[in-house]
Symmetry: C2
Amino acid sequence: MQTIRQDIQVAFRYDVHFVEDAFHPENDLLARIVEAEAGVPWRKMLPVIDEGLLPHYPDLPERIEAYFAQRAHSLALHAPVLAAAGEAAKNDPALVAGLHAAIRQAGLCRHSFVLAIGGGSVLDLAGYAAATAHRGVRLVRMPTTVLAQNDSGVGVKNSVNARGAKNFLGTFAPPYAVVNDFSFLASLSDRDWRSGMAEAVKVALVKDAAFFDELEANAERLAPPRRDARAIERLVYRCAALHLDHIAASGDPFEMGTSRPLDFGHWAAHQLEQLTGYALRHGEAVATGIALDATYSRLGGLLPERDWRRTLALLEAMGFRLYAPEIGAHLDEPEHPRSVFRGLEAFREHLGGTLTIMLLAGIGQGMEVHEVDLGLYRRAIALLRERAARAARAACTEPAAARIS
Amino acid sequence: MQTIRQDIQVAFRYDVHFVEDAFHPENDLLARIVEAEAGVPWRKMLPVIDEGLLPHYPDLPERIEAYFAQRAHSLALHAPVLAAAGEAAKNDPALVAGLHAAIRQAGLCRHSFVLAIGGGSVLDLAGYAAATAHRGVRLVRMPTTVLAQNDSGVGVKNSVNARGAKNFLGTFAPPYAVVNDFSFLASLSDRDWRSGMAEAVKVALVKDAAFFDELEANAERLAPPRRDARAIERLVYRCAALHLDHIAASGDPFEMGTSRPLDFGHWAAHQLEQLTGYALRHGEAVATGIALDATYSRLGGLLPERDWRRTLALLEAMGFRLYAPEIGAHLDEPEHPRSVFRGLEAFREHLGGTLTIMLLAGIGQGMEVHEVDLGLYRRAIALLRERAARAARAACTEPAAARIS
């Protein structure tokens, strides 16, 4: 027998830009990103636009057309494809097929661009279609939500839901560039604005105590109703930077191992999203998942009481509800399809049979464990339920952002 | 404006093994490949088997089952999925969906295995399905043809045909391991055996004069009817090694740039496959494509006369026909859908608008050019046509392998 050992190093580089009004005629960022390079004299570009943007920006297609018509004599811009907003973008296999058809019809090649503009779901859909056409058409992401700008939109993954499983189909495929255009954030609903902040709390809790302090100090400015633009831009930048640093420095950017620190709070969150039929936003479910795993960390003696209180208080100050009835159902039947504990099993299966869950040893200090105590989780859930009931009794008519315990 | 530059290095490692009878109960190679590792206590495996193997190896599913039943107490082996043999595997979108369904039903995770056994098309199909499920289930490839063992089966690509384009959907996804089991080669038809040798001639011409000398010295032993086992194993090993070395050393394993030295002869080959409705095997079309680009190199003054003669003589000694009527049609209408010159346009489009074609400056010396002269190509095609007609007249009843000019 003979064996050849193959070692391959693949280098990916992309810039994540933080800007205002990228389609302003005098902003040359996008033109520079897609400009012709030596050996590739002309470009093709296919925009994919989140339908949810159009009520807020009805002239967006025209602005894109005007922007590139004015500047990019070497670029053939194709008519945009509209994609369903929200999780619906990821739930319909016909949308993937439709994007593949549009990419083929436009004659895109591996040096062409898909310009995906929208929330995380539309970016995931467009990214999956772009990554699989011709083994990868270049993807320029323009995330338009807090969540996509600070988390999924700057990373290296894409996916769609299929065969009853969230993110069942997808690839690891770094984008060609990311343009975080803050001017899109103004159009977000309060729920979407708030929802995006959950991932910032998550990454601060796991990795960066100073960032947590900053979020705590700015909670009121950040949250609805104030929605301070400078504060949210700062949050987006720092959260994205931590996320990018994790990907680059983890040693495992394509997640071939079993460690997933950025999945803190996510085993319960994914299950909650499914149990609520996606009535809960991803960030809302993540906030509940964070509260649950922080409380479990506290009850297990891992997380100091003060850090636990600060964690829950910050989430509540941002206006998150930390309990949903679905999380408390079927707790004595962990195998029940509607038990939140099925989320643990899904994590275990996803990671090859060994459970790996991130918990907290302190603010800014994530800690992986491989075993959990369901009895302790039941106590943690009961504690969150009581806390929510107490808060509701005490302040049922106050605005959510004021419910600091 | 702020910008974060993201640099990611992704390291991939896989072993390519060259063995006899991998499913022999005493051969522990496969058991070692899939054995449990720290933190991942049990495994799941889904075999995908090329239907074309079953007439030759009717007991293959039972042998696989017996092999793993005996050894891998930590491995759950699922019932194999059968995949259509040959290009048909890549032409039916339902086959991709069916594999995704089987992967989901078997509960495979990113630490599970798809064991793909078959020719290059089945490996391409299974590889695409595995690479996109859960963003990548581990793929162990067992190529069973000369072509797959020395070329596509050891590389980093997968694909299926879609929307009228060959390889329109696919990803770059290094396998987890490759097991080149020589014992499968005996069942190949003479056409498939021969077809696989074209890629060896290609890589020798572009990269390794000594390998060309060796192929030349062994042409008769290699080709049908002799089909010497040791000679073909040596060809497979050296060709695979050159292919692997190119991927690892090129600096562009995922083909983000425009250079494709291993696509020598392939612009015409891809078009010929389509023009003949895949009646020509890939390797047969590649042999004709090599002959065409070698002849063009000769007529353009790039390739010395003696090297050109040796190139065509080696291909003919292996039994390849170097002309097909389809290559001579519509030469004065380069835009005609049935003109071979559409293959040049497809290459140009695939590479972002600049044509990059590999030609020969000598045996073992590839050379890229960015412009071609269609008039010279017409002369090259005419020359191949005359040569084929002369050979047919001179030796119409002799076996192909004896037609050395």
